[in-house]
Symmetry: C2
Subunit: 143 residues, 2 copies
DNA sequence: TATAAAGCCTATAAACTAAGTAGGGTATAG
DNA sequence: CTATACCCTACTTAGTTTATAGGCTTTATA
């Protein structure tokens, strides 16, 4: 399951993507509209900023805004940022690779093979799911 | 990520599937061969028994053995048993459905759509991954 | 240049979960 | 009838998640 952090991040990002041309948005505004605890959201947005997805402006008239284009922000990246590896086994991850402790021989491990497939198809779908794409889907679903 | 419980369960099941015709296997034997803490494995095997996948025989000459055919035991079932829902969001699960708290409108939720796709393809792969299948793959990989 | 606005930073706490341990109870083959 | 081996309940320990508290720093603007 996704952590709340990741879920909140996605909601905040979509919120910001929809208002991409309206200048900085207050943490408080996002928190209220998206039902996210204010202080918790603060930490989340900071992480997204450190990762280069968002930028912020301090002081009066400040707030957060998207730095990357909505086309360039996908769910795989967001999930990795907050929840770590997408794969279900450490031995089939890309960035977080680790050997499975109890595994006797990785080469002939039939379990590995299955979960590698799962990882690959999952990453494919999540990479295609950009902010633009999600907003577009929501638009179509309303019809 | 899979819990250790689920991983241990898979290893134990494969172990038992390979020895399906040799009568009951001792917990101690599986624990030793698969590097699983004995007491922990005890609890895991009991869960698998309660779920109808394994059966056991008490007393001298006892142990655990597969009740279901290796064709009928797949990774989706094992994962659900130990780690709960396979989906990454509670609102796209089959058996464990729950509304996402922060979700304003499930009908028009673009996030839901993405994670429903992920769930469906994942379940498809995991259902196809039966014990027989995994053992077969391992056999082929050795070549 | 004071001052309010708004993000930044560190520490802490409460609740939950995962992983494993302890110790005895119960059934059964020989 | 006793050694064997699974069954059951409770507990512990460590780590993670989900926050909250409180003050610090930057900045627009009156």
């Amino acid at each position: 399951m996704l952590s709340k952090k990741a879920k909140y991040a996605i909601h905040a990002l979509i919120h910001l993507a929809k208002l991409a041309d309206d200048g900085p948005v207050l943490i408080s505004t996002i928190a209220e509209k998206e039902n996210i605890p204010h202080k918790f959201l603060e930490a989340i947005l900071l992480d997204l900023k450190k990762d280069g997805i968002l930028a912020s402006k301090k002081g009066k008239g400040g707030g957060y805004y998207l730095l990357k284009h909505p086309d360039e922000v996908n769910m795989a990246d967001v999930m990795r940022l907050f929840d770590g590896a997408i794969a279900l086994l450490p031995c089939v991850t890309y960035k977080y690779y680790e050997r499975c402790e109890e595994c006797k021989d990785e080469e002939t491990c039939g379990i590995r093979d299955v979960f590698l497939q799962v990882r690959n198809t999952t990453v494919e779908i999540l990479k295609a799911a950009t902010l633009s794409q999600i907003i577009k889907i929501e638009g179509n679903l309303i019809l």
